[in-house]
C-alpha cells in the first residue's frame, strides 16, 4: 500500500483521454446532482456576498459614498466611475505594461520551471536534493529583504524603470513555487513511458516536449493561472523598480486613487474591477484546460 502514490499515474495514462470525455457524455443522462448543486450554489452566493460591497461602491458617485458611508445602500447609481477610473488609474498605459509583462514573463517562467522540474523529477540531476532544498527555501525569502540588492543589480544592468527589467526578479521569485508543483506532478508520470519513448529513439528534449508537457497539461495550466495572477498583482517590486508613469503596472497605478488624507474609494473600486475582470475571464477559459478533457489526444493511446 505504501506505493499507492503510483496508483494514479499507472491507472491514468492509457485512459487519460477516455475518462473525462466519458464523464462528459454520461453526465446529462444521470439524475441527481441537483441537491449538491443547490447547496453549492447557496455556498457560492455566500462566498461572493462580500464582493457586493465592491460592486455597489463602484456603482455609486463618490459624493454618495462619502455622504452616507460604505455600508449604506446607494441612493444614486452611476457608471461614470469606470470612465473616470480609466483616466485616473492611467489604465491605457498600465494595462499595456501589465499585459506585456505577463506575456513576457509567465510562459517563460513556466517553461524554465518545467525544465528544472523535469530534471529534478526524472533526470537524476546531481545534487538534486540540495537543489530542491535551495528552491524550497526561496519560498520563504520575503521580497522586501532583497529589494536593495535587486535594485543595485538591475541598476548595474541599466534595467531600472523598465518592464523587461522586472522579468528577472519576477522569474526568480516565481520559480520556487512553479518548480515544486510541477516536479510533484512530473514525478507521478510513470518511468515506463519514458523508457518506451527512449526505445523509440527519442532524446530527452523530445521526451520533454512531446510526452511530459502534453501529459501534464492540467498541472501546467494550473501553474500558469496561479503565476499569471501573482504577476498581474505584484506590487512591491513594481513599486520600487519602476518610476515613470509611462512604465507603471496596474497595481502601482491603483495608488492613484489614494490620497494622503482620503481615498477615492468609488474610483478605486471601479479601478479594481477594471483590473480584475480580464483575469477572471482568462481564468474561465483556462480552467477548461484543467478539467474539461481537453488533454484528450495528447497521448497516442
Amino acid at each position: 500500500m505504501s506505493s499507492s502514490a503510483e496508483v494514479a499515474p499507472v491507472a491514468t495514462l492509457p485512459d487519460a483521454h477516455v475518462a473525462p470525455s466519458d464523464e462528459l457524455s454520461r453526465e446529462p443522462k444521470r439524475k441527481g446532482g441537483i441537491g449538491i448543486t443547490i447547496v453549492l450554489t447557496l455556498v457560492a452566493l455566500l462566498w461572493l456576498s462580500p464582493l457586493v460591497l465592491l460592486v455597489t461602491t463602484a456603482l455609486r458617485p463618490l459624493s454618495d459614498f462619502v455622504a452616507n458611508g460604505a455600508l449604506s445602500w446607494p441612493q444614486e447609481w452611476t457608471l461614470q466611475n469606470f470612465a473616470d477610473a480609466w483616466g485616473v488609474g492611467n489604465f491605457a498605459t498600465t494595462y499595456r505594461n501589465s499585459l506585456f509583462l505577463l506575456i513576457l514573463k509567465v510562459p517563460l517562467g513556466v517553461l524554465i520551471s518545467a525544465m528544472l522540474a523535469f530534471a529534478l523529477a526524472k533526470l537524476r540531476l546531481r545534487f538534486g536534493t540540495a537543489i530542491m532544498f535551495a528552491v524550497f527555501l526561496g519560498l520563504t525569502i520575503p521580497i522586501y529583504i532583497t529589494i536593495v540588492p535587486v535594485f543595485v543589480l538591475l541598476r548595474s544592468f541599466g534595467a531600472i524603470d523598465s518592464i523587461p527589467g522586472l522579468v528577472g526578479p519576477y522569474l526568480a521569485f516565481g520559480i520556487p513555487f512553479e518548480v515544486l508543483v510541477l516536479q510533484s506532478f512530473f514525478r507521478q508520470l510513470p518511468d515506463e513511458l519514458i523508457e518506451a519513448a527512449k526505445m523509440d529513439g527519442a532524446g530527452p528534449w523530445r521526451i520533454f516536449f512531446t510526452l511530459i508537457l502534453p501529459l501534464s497539461t492540467p498541472a501546467l495550466v494550473t501553474v500558469f493561472i496561479l503565476d499569471a495572477v501573482a504577476t498581474w498583482n505584484e506590487f512591491l517590486f513594481a513599486l520600487i523598480l519602476l518610476s515613470s508613469d509611462a512604465n507603471k503596472t496596474i497595481p502601482v497605478g491603483l495608488l492613484n486613487f489614494q490620497g494622503q488624507f482620503s481615498n477615492n474609494n468609488t474610483g478605486l473600486a471601479a479601478g479594481i474591477l477594471i483590473a480584475v475582470v480580464p483575469i477572471l475571464i482568462a481564468y474561465i477559459f483556462l480552467q477548461r484546460w484543467i478539467v474539461g478533457g481537453l488533454t484528450a489526444g495528447a497521448t497516442k493511446g
Binding site: 500500500m1 506505493s3 499507492s4 502514490a5 503510483e6 496508483v7 494514479a8 499515474p9 499507472v10 491514468t12 477516455v18 475518462a19 453526465e27 441527481g32 449538491i36 453549492l40 457560492a44 462580500p50 458611508g69 460604505a70 455600508l71 525544465m115 530534471a119 526524472k122 537524476r124 540531476l125 538534486g128 536534493t129 537543489i131 524550497f136 527555501l137 526561496g138 525569502i141 522586501y144 529583504i145 532583497t146 540588492p149 535587486v150 543589480l153 528577472g168 526578479p169 526568480a172 520559480i175 508543483v181 510533484s184 506532478f185 507521478q188 518511468d191 523508457e195 530527452p204 492540467p218 494550473t222 495572477v229 491603483l254 478605486l268 480584475v276 483575469i279 477572471l280 480552467q287 478539467v291
Partner: protein
C-alpha cells in the same frame, strides 16, 4: 482494485530506475540551467548579500554600519513581540492550512463530479484570490464595523445581538477576525491544485469499485485520498510556507494591532526593517523565519527526492 495493478509496475520501476542512470549528466544540467541561473542571480544572491546585515546594526539607510556578531539573534528571545508573533504564527498557520485545504479539497471533489454550472462555481470560489489586498482589507473592514457592519447586523437580526463584537478592535478577537478573510481568499489555491490532481484518477477505478459494491465513502477513502497523496504533499508544503510567512493581509487589515495583538513574524520583520530603521534586527528575524522553514521542509524535500515511495 488498487493493489492489483501495483505489482507489475513496481518491478518495472526497479528495472527502469537502473536504466535511467544513463540519463542525467549534461542533459539534466541543460534542463536545469536556465531556471537555476535566474534563480541564483535574482533571488539567491540578493538574499545572501542581505543575510550579512543580520550580523550588523545597520539602520537600513546609512552608508555605514557596525558588525555586532550574533547580538541581533541573542536579543530576539528578549523581545516580547517576537514571542507573541511566534505564537500568533503557529495559530495562524494551523487554522489557515486546515480550513482552506479541507474546504478546497471538498470543493474540488464536488466540482469534479455531477454538479450543474461547474465553470461558474469554480470561478466564484477562486475569485477572492484574484483581488488586490487593498480591496480585501477595505471590504472586510466594512463588514466588521461594530455598528453598521454586516456581521454584527446579522447577529442582531437573528437575535444573537449579545454576540456582536468589535471584532477587529480587541485583542481577543482580532486575530480570528483576520483569519476568516484569509480562509476565504485561500480556498481557491488548494481547490485548483486538487482539481488538476483529480484529473489523474481514472474513472474506471470508481466504476470497478461500484461494481464491487463499495460505498461512496469507501471509494473516497480507498481510491480518491490515496491517489491524491502527492497532491496532499505539495498542497500542504506550499500552504505551510505561505501561511508561515503571512504578512500583507495582516498588515492591511489590522496593521499588527490592536497594540501588537496580531503581529506575526512577517509583519514584525517588516516593521523593523522599514519602519523602525532596524534593518539588522529585521533581517535577523527573516533569517530565523527561513531557518524554521528549512526545518519543517526537510520531511517534504526528502519525500520528493527519495527514489520512489516503494
Amino acid at each position: 482494485m488498487g493493489t492489483a495493478t501495483l505489482e507489475a509496475p513496481a518491478v518495472d520501476a526497479a528495472v527502469a530506475r537502473r536504466r535511467r542512470r544513463k540519463y542525467g549528466g549534461i542533459h539534466a544540467w541543460l534542463f536545469a540551467l536556465p531556471a537555476l541561473a535566474v534563480y541564483l542571480i535574482f533571488l539567491v544572491y540578493p538574499a545572501l548579500s542581505s543575510l550579512w546585515f543580520s550580523f550588523t546594526d545597520w539602520d537600513g539607510l546609512s552608508p555605514t554600519y557596525n558588525v555586532v556578531g550574533l547580538e541581533n539573534y541573542i536579543n530576539m528571545p528578549k523581545d516580547p513581540v517576537v514571542i507573541q508573533a511566534l505564537i500568533n504564527n503557529i495559530i495562524w498557520t494551523v487554522i489557515t492550512i486546515v480550513f482552506p485545504v479541507v474546504i478546497g479539497l471538498a470543493l474540488a471533489i464536488l466540482l469534479n463530479g455531477k454538479v450543474r454550472g461547474k465553470p461558474v462555481l469554480r470561478l466564484i470560489f477562486y475569485t477572492p484570490a484574484v483581488l488586490p489586498l487593498v480591496a480585501i482589507a477595505s471590504i472586510w473592514g466594512w463588514l466588521y464595523n461594530p455598528d453598521y457592519g454586516a456581521i454584527n447586523s446579522f447577529l442582531r437580526l437573528i437575535g444573537l445581538g449579545s454576540l456582536a463584537q468589535p471584532w477587529l478592535g480587541q485583542d481577543s478577537t482580532a486575530l480570528a477576525a483576520v483569519m476568516v478573510p484569509a480562509i476565504w481568499l485561500r480556498v481557491g489555491f488548494p481547490m485548483l491544485l486538487y482539481l488538476a490532481a483529480l484529473q489523474g484518477i481514472s474513472q474506471d477505478m470508481y466504476e470497478a469499485a461500484t461494481v464491487d459494491g463499495a460505498t461512496k465513502s469507501q471509494q473516497f477513502w480507498h481510491i480518491t485520498m490515496p491517489s491524491l497523496r502527492p497532491a496532499h504533499y505539495i498542497v500542504l508544503a506550499l500552504s505551510l510556507i505561505d501561511s508561515f510567512k503571512v504578512f500583507d493581509l495582516i498588515y492591511a487589515m489590522t496593521y499588527g494591532g490592536p497594540g501588537t495583538a496580531t503581529q506575526v513574524m512577517g509583519t514584525w520583520m517588516y516593521f523593523n526593517v522599514f519602519q523602525y530603521y532596524q534593518a539588522g534586527y529585521g533581517t535577523a528575524i527573516a533569517v530565523v523565519i527561513t531557518i524554521i522553514a528549512i526545518a519543517v521542509s526537510i520531511p517534504y524535500v526528502r519525500s520528493q527526492t527519495k527514489e520512489h515511495a516503494v
